[in-house]
């Protein structure tokens, strides 16, 4: 699949063949980074084990204790893989659909909506367990996403900054709501306090399975939409002339992004800036082709999130820093850099 993706990539100025082989090498490098990140994620933690131990466990030659320690890190590694992939692909989709370099599920209120949905269901409807809560993340995320777009497109013309501002407003109100509820019901929400920051640890494979269908659907939709997004990038008029339907493509793109970010948020809590930063890095490597962008996001997103998680485990050892905190440290400066590239700003 990768081969077809890169071969059909629209070449920039240089020869398409050279460009394609360059992309293949980049993808191999990206996969190597991801493999290293996964290995680091199962090797490092509060209990001292090394990369060598992790390799031994994978080979099946380690002693029982080491094996138990390393295997206890499998669920969080798998979760990081899924959440990083979902958030990065969602960010790429949103930036493509809205043509807004600042689009990110966290900045546009979708993550806050998913949190509010999960918290409401647990507090007022008595929903418990992961299978129940993921279904409440979805309507929350959808509602918040729609609300942000309604506020953002009020008045004449849709500015680039408006959606971000609308997202900030919706996030502010929803996070006040989430905090009021979580502070008010300390017993019910002891685990949710942890969840509210965004963390990979303390969850099992059941969580992963419960969000897998939603995330899979979102990813499938994203891959199917990629060619249409390429057409959309030519501008609405040219796209319509070529037989594309910009409105439908946009709506489906946002739906896919919402599904992906709702799944990630339901599984690991709100994690900001992965969806903002990864697409910018990816675009620098791939250029404008969305098929390549989505594939690279799916590789580099998990790599970044897992490395951030490993960093969080090492910084406060033997305690851990939630991965949501680490990604904010890493991602927010990317936002500050992006500000300068904003045209006009209004």
């Amino acid at each position: 699949m990768t081969a077809t993706v890169v071969r059909t990539a629209p070449g920039g100025s240089g020869a398409p063949r050279a460009r394609a082989s360059r992309l293949v090498w980049f993808l191999i490098a990206g996969l190597a980074v991801l493999a290293l990140a996964m290995l680091a994620s199962i090797a490092f933690g509060s209990l001292p084990t090394s990369i060598g131990d992790a390799v031994d466990v994978l080979r099946g030659t380690a002693d029982a204790n080491t094996t138990a320690v390393v295997e206890s890190r499998y669920p969080r590694t798998a979760l990081g893989l899924l959440a990083g992939l979902a958030l990065a692909v969602a960010g790429t989709l949103m930036q493509g659909v809205t043509r807004n370099p600042l689009a990110d599920p966290g900045l546009l209120g979708i993550t806050a909506g998913a949190s509010a949905g999960v918290v409401s269901a647990t507090a007022f409807l008595g929903v418990s367990g992961q299978w129940g809560t993921v279904w409440w993340a979805l309507p929350g995320a959808l509602l918040a996403g729609v609300l942000v777009h309604v506020i953002g497109s009020a008045g004449s013309g849709a500015g680039l900054v408006r959606l971000v501002l609308a997202g900030a407003v919706v996030t502010a109100v929803l996070s006040a709501y989430v905090q009021a509820v979580t502070l008010g019901m300390p017993k019910v929400f002891d685990s949710y306090r942890y969840w509210v920051v965004g963390a990979l640890g303390g969850r099992d494979f059941e969580v992963l399975l419960s969000v897998l269908p939603t995330a899979g659907l979102g990813l499938l939709l994203a891959l199917l939409l990629a060619p249409a997004l390429n057409t959309l990038a030519l501008g609405d008029e040219s796209a319509s002339a070529l037989g594309a339907r910009p409105g439908v493509t946009r709506a489906l793109g946002l739906l896919a992004a919402t599904l992906l970010s709702a799944a990630a948020t339901a599984a690991v809590g709100p994690i900001a800036f992965v969806g903002l930063a990864v697409p910018h890095i990816v675009k620098a490597v791939t250029g404008a082709d969305f098929r390549a962008q989505i594939v690279f996001s799916a590789v580099l997103g998990p790599a970044l999130l897992l490395l951030a998680d490993v960093a969080g485990r090492m910084l406060l050892r033997p305690q851990e820093l939630m991965v949501g905190i680490v990604t904010a440290f890493l991602g927010a400066p990317a936002l500050l850099v992006a500000v300068r590239r904003m045209k006009g700003g209004s």
Binding site: L102, L107, I151, A154, G155, S156, G159, L160, V161, R162, V164, L165, A166, A168, V169, V170, A172, V173, S175, A176, Y177, Q179, A180, T182, L183, G184, M185, P186, R193, V197, A272, F273, L315, L316, Q319, L321, M322, I325, V326, A328, F329, G331, A332, P333, L335, L336, V337, A338, V339, R340, M342, G344, G345, S346
Partner: protein, 345 residues
């Protein structure tokens, strides 16, 4: 040069706007503020009954009333008043400089920067550096980062706000890092440094914010006339002798000090400095910074929000910062839609 109409000139520099509308609005705000203060002291199970309140305030209180007045609600009320006034004034100064309601200290990340500074010195270096100094350093750093990363200074509200979101995110992440690294009772400490809270304030906090207001308010009054002129645009203001550049720098500096002071005593309480100047402006219908009215409105808003935080039957003691976050967020949404319909942003 003739002064704009409706200004009372005190000395050479100070011109206080006293149109009749402002005086009426000021009186109404003061009456409401007094009512809110009385309600804060007398409502609820531990409140001092209205009939005893005057005696307790003038003649000295005994027993339960003394405890409530001197330890429990008195300091909290005074800190609320001072912090609200400081936030309102800070917002009025900053919004006049950016010439946009959204260019307000809490929206552009100044308050969360101050919160991060306060958290750093209070939790990482307890007792080494006073908390207000840490808050001030954090606020200054936040303003500098925002100013530098927009590339256009404070002129472009869109860039200002997006840079502010970034600075806020870094600050909050830093606060979370510090709290998780140091504290055990994480939830309450975290929310105090991220949202701001007025619970368990002492007279020491009241004195801190009082000193900040005493130093900054006269300076703000001193530049208010020139600041009003600078709203007319650089050229006009320059011709009228207002030195717009210098005036703006002074206003930003004062605003930063006020915000830092407020954060040092109460944490980064959001949206008061956004909303108070806007309400003050609506009350009078005029232009100009309305420093006095903004301070009164800020104090009123915060005391009312804290009254709600104390008296509403929500379990678990939701801090006042969460209330202002919810209300201010709604107001910000209204403001955005209005600005967009007018096409001014």
């Amino acid at each position: 040069m003739s002064r704009p109409k409706g200004f009372v000139v005190l000395g050479r520099a100070v011109a206080v706007p006293v149109s009749r509308v402002s005086v009426v609005a000021g009186l109404v705000l003061t009456v409401l503020l007094l009512a809110a203060c009385v309600a804060t002291l007398s409502l609820g199970r531990l409140g001092i009954p209205l009939t005893d309140l005057l005696g307790a305030l003038t003649g000295g209180a005994r027993g339960k009333a003394a405890f409530v007045l001197e330890r429990l609600r008195g300091p909290r009320l005074v800190v609320g008043l001072g912090t609200g006034a400081a936030l309102g004034l800070s917002g009025a100064l900053f919004q006049t400089v950016t010439r946009n309601p959204l260019g307000s200290p809490d929206v552009i990340g100044l308050a969360s920067g101050a919160g991060a500074g306060a958290a750093a010195v209070a939790l990482l270096l307890p007792g080494v550096v006073p908390v207000p100094i840490g808050a001030l350093a954090g606020a200054v750093l936040a303003v500098v980062v925002v100013y530098v990363s927009t590339g256009t200074g404070f002129r472009n509200p869109g860039r200002l706000i997006v840079a502010g979101i970034g600075v806020s995110a870094i600050s909050v992440a830093f606060i979370q890092y510090v709290v998780y690294a140091v504290e055990r009772d994480k939830a309450t400490v975290l929310t105090a440094y991220v949202n701001g809270s007025l619970s368990a304030r002492s007279w020491e906090h009241a004195v801190t914010i009082g000193i900040v207001l005493l130093v900054v308010a006269p300076l703000a009054a001193a530049i208010s006339g020139r600041l009003a002129l600078s709203e007319m645009g650089d050229e006009t203001a320059g011709m009228l002798g207002a030195e717009p550049g210098g005036t703006r720098t002074a206003a930003v500096a004062l605003s930063v000090v006020l915000s830092a002071g407020a954060v040092a005593v109460a944490g980064p309480i959001t949206f008061i400095s956004l909303t108070a100047p806007q309400i003050a402006r609506r009350l009078t219908g005029g232009t100009g910074p309305h420093l006095m009215l903004s301070s009164l409105t800020g104090a009123l808003l915060l005391v009312l929000a804290d009254l709600a935080a104390q008296q509403l039957p929500l379990p678990g003691g939701v801090p006042v910062g969460v209330y202002t976050l919810a209300l201010g967020g709604l107001y910000l949404g209204y403001l955005l839609i209005r600005e967009w319909k007018k096409g001014t942003l």
